[in-house]
Symmetry: D2
Subunit: 242 residues, 4 copies
């Protein structure tokens, strides 16, 4: 027992001289039980320290589907400001991949009958041709966005990505504590996902202010204001990247 | 069988000549199975037709607690515009009682340790003296508001009255399809409850625009705008009463 | 106004002379607002009265996938008694279609990494070859079972079909009040779905005792006993059919 | 940088020679960020190592209320085997307190109208005198059981302690990963809580086989069997204590 204590003292001195990232790295590598690591994570690690920093973060890419952001679809669900943020979303995804962040692609996919869509939108569904019907072109991701191996696709049927889905289960058991959110549209699916994330006790919730969009700028900004007021961080993509 | 068909034809002609309220009344009285009727409902009925009209409606009174609306409490959770709407909330409650509407009083009651409050608010809890701690004065309803027999008290720990509570269960099994919402504050607990109500397929969700409040008018109004955009009705108390 | 009252009296006399099914039919056809009717419902109606009787019932077909019921798959998830009930499940589905009952096919589909499966089963997932991985053969329905147009596929990742899914939302907004449950396996996915259905206040929950199965008969029967004790009906397929 | 690597090598050798508990202790003490510690936890620590071992465990004491376990109440909800396990539950609670385990007292408290109880039990509620009505004697804890400061009371209205409650939220944000479950009754509230706990990815779920009870021994044991089959541990109180 005395030798154990000696060992402990020695260890403590050593540990206290190490920098925070090294501690974090050791914590993740040595002390954790078996844990599911996103399979794509290892590929893009610039360094172990960086990967450790981001291993508790997931990026939610929300509703970046043709019916929401591609005017050519002529969908009643088109978000006016959506097309303009596709490049920023693609760039945010690229940064997330480089950092080894777990990527979750949240999409709506509805039954042709519309029986699983909100009541106030069911009139859009007739003849099996409604917005983001599963299998139709409008439900596909916008051009330029692709789900890669090791990333996760999560289907939802309401605004919030957490409403009646297993998203919280997937994230929590993967050790995710922080969320970065991009996509459309700010007052509905973005905000509801964000408020639910805060309610579900994610430690840090970040909305990239220029990789999210609404129908009009004042709608976007008033919702950003409300999210800031409950502790959400709202950097630009450039600020988040550095 | 032919006589049944004749009877049916006759009946259809009669039915089609009746006005909407009468139909509604018959539907409720003749065709429904046994159903739990709020026990206080019968007392204030002006007429059976009126009661039938409102038997599928509940009013949610949200967070009208001293720590949120009474400046004398000096709570960090005080909503700037809250005190001003107490009379309108009391008036809305009186109208609801007169109409036999099921009243649900939604309140926050937290553990003294703050372990059941949102992470970003936990710093307010030390020494067991945080906002709306169960049993403390700040958790009481604002002066002038009282829960009467037959009404329901629902404790929540997050913004939305539906988040991790049995509210939807109580409402749906009571046959409630429409909600009227009053209280504080618009961008957080009001809005999150409203968006969840829409996600949960309540048929009509109504927010009384002058019986709800936020810290500043522009916050209140931008949230009212967003709620309107998803089909929520936003009358004044006077409009709703007539 | 007096003429209205006369009309009402007349109507009441007529109504009281009608039988229960006719009342039920009228209720559904005349008094309901716009409602999503399962698109396949109309095809197999033997009579309107029958269709009315079953329009509030859904059948949940649970986990009838190759990895659970087909020994040829050599899956660690094989349910010993599963293969034997495939014909009974197929027969129950045929009866449901004839009656116009809304059919919901509940299946597990997991990520190749196993990150969305229960912790105690994750060791089965390595190299992307675990049980009921989305897109692999083991996740397909057992031979002889097919999802037809107008029926609904619901993906779950835990035992209960209601756990972290939008099933309750789809059923409740379709006006479903009664459930009939078939599939595998009795102590886990069947029972958890059944207990959740009772908790969610479905009015009548029915488990077809010979269209469900477990690893061993005594496991099956002890769970049937427990379900009976909370008010669940447990007829045979033959009893249910007549 | 080379010196960092040398340090790391040295550290690894040391770490690998330490036993599992020491590792666990270090993990908790040195590497964790600020975390809410149950306020009663520190009082009964025999040693830091022991406290560390149990800081991730909560005990759920389920439905130990007079109407469920006290025959003198003459409640229709009385569990035949309930009274016999009150001493074992009390003993389990004492051990939990000694170990600094977070104690959660899960109870049913219903509205006098019964409007928040399961449909199949509502006939028990008339005249406001149903089982475990809030404020009545039947809802009190059994004699000998008391909630102490720093412990948590959680009200539920359905079988599972997790169904439509904020229990998972309270446990997860307190860092709880393991659950020990005692109370009544095995096939309903115990089992549903246990299966939900597994679905919610608690790492270790333990049911004390002689501090839980059902109406009859064979019901108790068949449910224990099913729980074992999904990885739940089922020691006796004596086995768990040592």
């Amino acid at each position: 027992m005395p030798s154990h204590l000696a060992l402990l003292s020695c260890l403590l001195v050593l540990l206290l001289s190490l920098d925070k990232f090294l501690l974090h790295y050791l914590k993740k590598r040595l002390f954790s039980g078996p844990r599911i690591i996103p399979s794509g994570a290892s590929k893009s690690r610039r360094s172990m320290a960086s990967a450790a920093k981001w291993s508790e973060t997931a990026m939610l890419v929300i509703d970046m589907q043709k019916d929401f952001v591609d005017p050519a679809m002529r969908s009643p669900m088109l978000v006016a400001g959506g097309e303009a943020v596709v490049p920023a979303v693609a760039e945010a995804v690229a940064v997330a991949r480089e950092r080894g962040i777990f990527l979750v692609w949240v999409v709506r996919e509805h039954d042709p009958s519309g029986r699983d869509v909100e009541l106030f939108r069911r009139h859009h569904y007739s003849g099996g041709k409604g917005p983001t019907v599963k299998g139709l072109k409008g439900a596909e991701l916008a051009d330029g966005l692709v789900i890669k191996e090791g990333e996760y696709k999560l289907v939802k049927t309401r605004f919030s990505a957490f409403f009646a889905t297993h998203l919280d289960s997937v994230l929590k058991t993967a050790g995710i504590k922080n969320l970065v959110i991009v996509g459309v549209q700010t007052p509905n699916c973005i905000r509801q996902t964000v408020f639910d994330a805060v309610a579900l006790d994610y430690e840090k919730v970040t909305v990239l202010i220029d990789a999210t969009a609404a129908a009009r700028p004042e709608i976007h900004l008033s919702n950003i204001r409300d999210m800031k007021n409950i502790g959400v961080e709202t950097p630009t993509l450039e600020e988040w990247r550095h």
